[in-house]
Structure formats: C-alpha cells, structure tokens
C-alpha cells in the first residue's frame, strides 16, 4: 500500500473532532468509525474528478452518503481530497456555511449530489443514478454508505428489492455495521438479525470487511466489491467498524453518536492523533 495514504486518517479524525468541538454540535462517533472507509474511497478507490466537480457525475464513479449525520468525516475527506479548501472546514454548522449540519446540494458544496439526513433515502437515489449510468452507457460505478441502524427504515428494503430483482450490478452499497444507534446498541433497540443473509435473499452479492478501521482491509474489500460488480447482482459490503474509533474513550459506545467533546476531552483526543497534514486554520 502507498505509505502516504496511511497518514491521512489521523488528520481526518483531528478535523472531525475540531469541527464538532468548535460548534459544540454534530456527530463524531460514526464519523470517526467511518474514517478509513472515506479515506480508502476518496484517496484510493474512486475514479473521480476532484478538481472540477460535475453534478451529473458522468464518466466518473459517484458516491452517495445516505446516513448524512456523519457529515464531518464526509466534509473533511472532500476538502482533503481537493473538492474545496480545507479553510472552509471551520465554517461547519455555522450561519451562512456551505457545510450544513447534514449534507445538502442547496448551498452548492462541491462533492455533494443529494441532501441526506432523513434516513433511508440514499439507496434509492443511488439506484436512480446507477440506472442513469446504465442508460447512458457509462461503465463507472455508484457507491453508497448506510448505517446499520438506518436499515430499520422500510425504504431501504424497497430499494434493496428493486436492485436485486432488476440486476442493478453497477452499485456497491456499504453498511457501516457499528452495532450502535442513538438509543443504544442495535441489539437492544431493534435487533437486525443477519444483515448479510437479508441482502442475499434480496438478490445481492454480499461480502464482509471484518475490520473497517483497518485501511488496507477496507481498500481490499472495496476492490473485491468492484471485481464482483458487473456480474448481474448489486454488491453489498457489511463493514464492521467501531463507533468512535481512533480515540480510546470514544470507542465502541453509542454515547458519542451526537455529542461534542469538551475543551478537555478535545485535548485528550487530539493527543492520541498526530497532526499529519496540518490542521485547518480556525
């Protein structure tokens, strides 16, 4: 693996924590847990044009974030990948910002193609985009990310049925299986059973990433998924992550789903995360 990419996650995590801390709001837990996924996708896997963003995404791979509350990791990675200046990260959740609490196309932020936040809608949007690619003979892929708790929304299964039944094989949907949701663990709130078997029974190809916080494992998993695409079935990756990964006192609990760290907690968290690419200026 390219050594330079290994430095990125630590910086992304610093961005997430500093962004959420600055406005004392936002969702650090899931953002930290999905850091390796976003770094793998945007720095290694996607065939994408990060300098001149085109809404239509023609002739490139496109990504949809369905669980929009993990906007901090999305914004940080988009900025670090070159979609917009890292200086803009300091505007997160502030008045007149393009970096709204949940991602939106409304303010014209490069890299965002759909608003998300109200859960369960992103897979349908991704399917429409995948159908558009098929219709225009564009062989690039559509990626999406969903929370495991998000799978409790019925619309996800409408979309899963469509994709499997209609052989939409240019889509790779990843499930962030961190086992947590706002009210507690998914096992307590609404046990999800065997998510992989559910997708298989809906006609999907399913693969697993056992450690979604191991960058090389995530890259390998995404590449395997790409190899499975184009063979008549949509592809689902069940990616196990730790909510809050990278910060010891935030790891593996739902408590940091939507809570910002205090000054002291931020300092403690940042001490565990080397500043590898330079912090964005406040």
């Amino acid at each position: 693996m390219d050594k330079s990419i290994e430095k990125i996650p630590s910086q992304i995590r610093r961005d997430i924590l500093r962004m959420v801390h600055a406005v004392q709001s936002g969702h650090p837990g899931g953002s930290l847990g999905c850091t390796e996924f976003f770094v793998a996708l945007y720095f290694k896997v996607l065939n994408h044009d990060k300098e001149s963003f085109n809404m239509n995404g023609q002739n490139e791979d496109i990504f949809f974030l369905s669980n929009g509350h993990i906007s901090p990791v999305f914004y940080s990675v988009l900025a670090r990948a070159g979609y917009f200046s890292i200086d803009e990260l300091s505007t997160f959740r502030k008045l007149n910002s393009r970096l709204q609490g949940h991602p939106t196309t409304h303010e014209g932020l490069p890299g965002v193609r759909i608003a998300s936040g109200s859960l369960g809608q992103g897979l349908s949007v991704a399917l429409g985009a995948a159908e558009a690619k098929k219709l225009s003979n564009d062989n690039n892929l559509v990626f999406s990310l969903h929370g495991d708790g998000e799978l409790q929304e019925g619309q996800i299964w409408e979309a899963a049925l469509y994709a499997g039944s209609k052989n939409i094989d240019n889509i790779i949907a990843t499930i962030d299986a961190n086992g947590q949701q706002i009210d507690g663990s998914t096992n307590d709130v609404m046990p999800m059973g065997d998510i992989g078997s559910k997708f298989i029974s809906f006609g999907w190809e399913v693969l697993k990433i056992d450690n979604g916080n191991n960058l090389s494992e995530v890259i390998e998993g995404l590449n395997t998924a790409i190899n499975l695409s184009g063979k008549g079935k949509p592809v689902c990756i069940i990616m196990q992550t730790e909510m809050g990964a990278g910060v010891d006192f935030m790891t593996g609990t739902h408590k940091w789903h939507g809570i910002a760290p205090s000054d002291e907690q931020l300092e403690k968290a940042l001490s565990q995360l080397p500043e590898t690419l330079g912090d964005y200026p406040i």
Binding site: M55, N56, G57, Q58, I62, F64, T104, T105, H106, R113, I114, A115, S116, G117, S118, G120, Q121, G122, L123, S124, V125, A126, L127, G128, A129, A130, E131, A132, K133, L135, S136, D138, G154, Q155, E158, A159, L161, Y162, S165
Partner: protein
C-alpha cells in the same frame, strides 16, 4: 353564453399519457417511473415504445421518488406516475429531502386526484395534495382543466428546470381548450371577460365555472372566468387585474379549501387587493364512495355551487 365547445369527453390522465408519449418521441432525456399503475396513469404507451427509459418500481413509491432524484443527477428528466395520494402524502419526506431541497429536476405526475376518483372512497381521494406540495420551497404546482391542457402542461414541464407537481384526474370530462395551445407555467387564462364577479377555477371545476357563467348570464350577472391551472407560482397580475375590475372573487377547486387554490388567492387578495371572496371547495372533510358526479354535487363542487357562491359574494 360562453364560446367554449366540448369536443368530446376525455380523461385528463389520458392527456398526460399522450403528452408523455410525445415527449418520449421528441426528447431522449425524458424517462418515466411508475409504481404499478401504468395502465391507470396511461403510461403504457410510453412504456411499450420506450422500455429502456421506463422504470417499473413495483408498489414502492418511496423508492420511486428517490430513484427519480438519482436519475435526474444523470441529466435525465424523470416523470414519476402514481395516484395523487401516493404521489404526495405517502412520500412527502422523500420529495422534501431528495427532490425539493436537493433541487432535482423531477416531474411528479399524479392521477386520480380528488373526489372524482369515485367509488374507491376517501382512502384514495386525496384533497390535500396541492396544499402539501405548494408548501415546499421551489415546487411548481399545476392542476390543468382538461385533456388538451394536461397534455400541453406535460410537455411544457419537461422544458422547465426544477421540481414540478402535475395533478390530474380519472373521469372523462369535457375537453374544450384549444388542442395545440402551448402551456405556459404560471400564466392564468381569462376564458370569459366579465365585470360583475371573477370566478377563479382550476382542474375539473373550470368547466363547471363555464357552466355557471351561462347560468349567471341568464340572470344578468356578467362573470369573468379565469382558468388558474398553475397554483404556484400564482399569476398575480392576471388575478389582481380582474379583482380590481370586478371587486368580487369566487374560487372553485376539487380540493380542501384549506391549502388549495382558494387559499392562495385569498392570501394574494389580502396582501394586495382586499375584496369580498367566497371559496368553492371541500370544507375540512374527507370524501366517501360514490359516483363522481354524485360526490361533486354532495360536496358542493359543481356549477350550481359556484352560482350560489357568486350570489353570496355579490350580497357582501
């Protein structure tokens, strides 16, 4: 007597189906999605001729709305089709977030609106859809009056960039607007010039308003009938000019009074040209099973109800 001639009863949904077929043949970017009501929406002609551009989603309207948003990202112009009830209330949040707030170029086409859906009853007779849709920022809302105007509106909205709600109905009703008249979004048409009262109607109530015009003429009342097919954006200049002239306004629509055309007109008049006004519409109630004409009579949505409303407004 007014000069409009019914060239033969036709359903507005067939106007949609005909317009969609025209678009299929003339605009390769137009695609259509339907949730298991292809025949009811008259989308079968498009689906048969352009199977690659037609997406059958099954009975899954939420997924259909999201897919439409996704197709629009790829520069296609998606037309979704299902009943008005399932086009709005059932999928309000999907439309709000994935289409309206996201600014997607999706055309939400809704049939079987209102009481004239008939025997299926109140579960399917949505009378709140215009209110729901006009509340969404940036959403254009259109309720054309007959086959010809529905066909023209279907074609016109393909050339407008942004989300549109197009509402039409099930029964065969008089077809009287010119067949080749292009539809202009946001433009109300003055059908009869008058000086005593302005009747502003849309959808199936426009023909009823013309019938009311004839009845009123016989008793010496000269009504100006306006077909206000676009509820949003409202054609303020045409409506206010007429209200200025007559000083009395009656609205008529197949919708709740709350949230419909009358509500939009009342707001416009209150802000710009206060004058006595009466509304013909459903008064905070659900519908029921019955034949369309029986329901329109029972719920006060026919020409005689419009005549009564005119008499009331002239007494004020």
């Amino acid at each position: 007597m007014h000069n409009f001639i019914n060239s033969g009863n036709k359903d507005t949904r067939s106007g949609f189906g005909d317009g969609l077929l025209f678009l299929g043949r003339n605009n390769p970017n137009v695609v259509a999605l339907c949730s298991d009501l292809t025949g009811s929406l008259k989308m079968n002609y498009f689906a048969d001729e352009f199977p690659d551009r037609f997406f059958q989603t099954g009975i899954a309207e939420a997924n259909m709305m999201g897919m439409a948003a996704g197709l629009s990202i790829g520069n296609y112009i998606p037309f979704t089709g299902t009943f008005a009830n399932f086009s709005t209330g059932r999928v309000y949040d999907q439309i709000r977030q994935s289409i309206a707030y996201s600014g997607k170029n999706v055309k939400i086409c809704a049939s079987h609106a209102g009481l004239t859906l008939g025997e299926d009853g109140a579960t399917h007779q949505i009378l709140e859809d215009i209110g729901l849709m006009k509340m969404l920022p940036g959403m254009v809302v259109i309720s054309p009056c007959d086959f010809n105007q529905t066909r023209a509106a279907t074609i016109a909205i393909s050339n407008y960039l942004g989300p549109v709600y197009l509402r039409f109905g099930r029964p065969k009703v008089p077809n009287f607007t010119p067949s080749e008249k292009p539809f202009e979004i946001g433009k109300a048409d003055v059908l009869t010039e008058g000086k005593d009262v302005t009747i502003i109607a849309n959808g199936h109530l426009v023909w009823e308003a013309l019938e009311a015009y004839n009845s009123l003429t016989k008793i010496g009342i000269n009504a100006e009938v306006i077909n206000c097919a676009t509820i949003k954006p409202l054609d303020l200049s045409t409506l206010l000019k007429s209200a200025e002239k007559t000083g009395r306004v009656v609205t008529a629509e197949e919708h709740q009074k709350n949230g419909g055309l009358g509500d939009s007109v009342a707001q416009a008049l209150a802000l710009h040209k206060p004058c006595p006004m009466e509304m013909v519409g459903v008064n905070d109630s659900f519908g029921e099973s019955g034949k369309p004409d029986q329901l329109m009579k029972k719920y006060g949505l026919d020409s005689s109800a419009i005549v009564d409303a005119v008499k009331s407004v002239l007494k004020r």
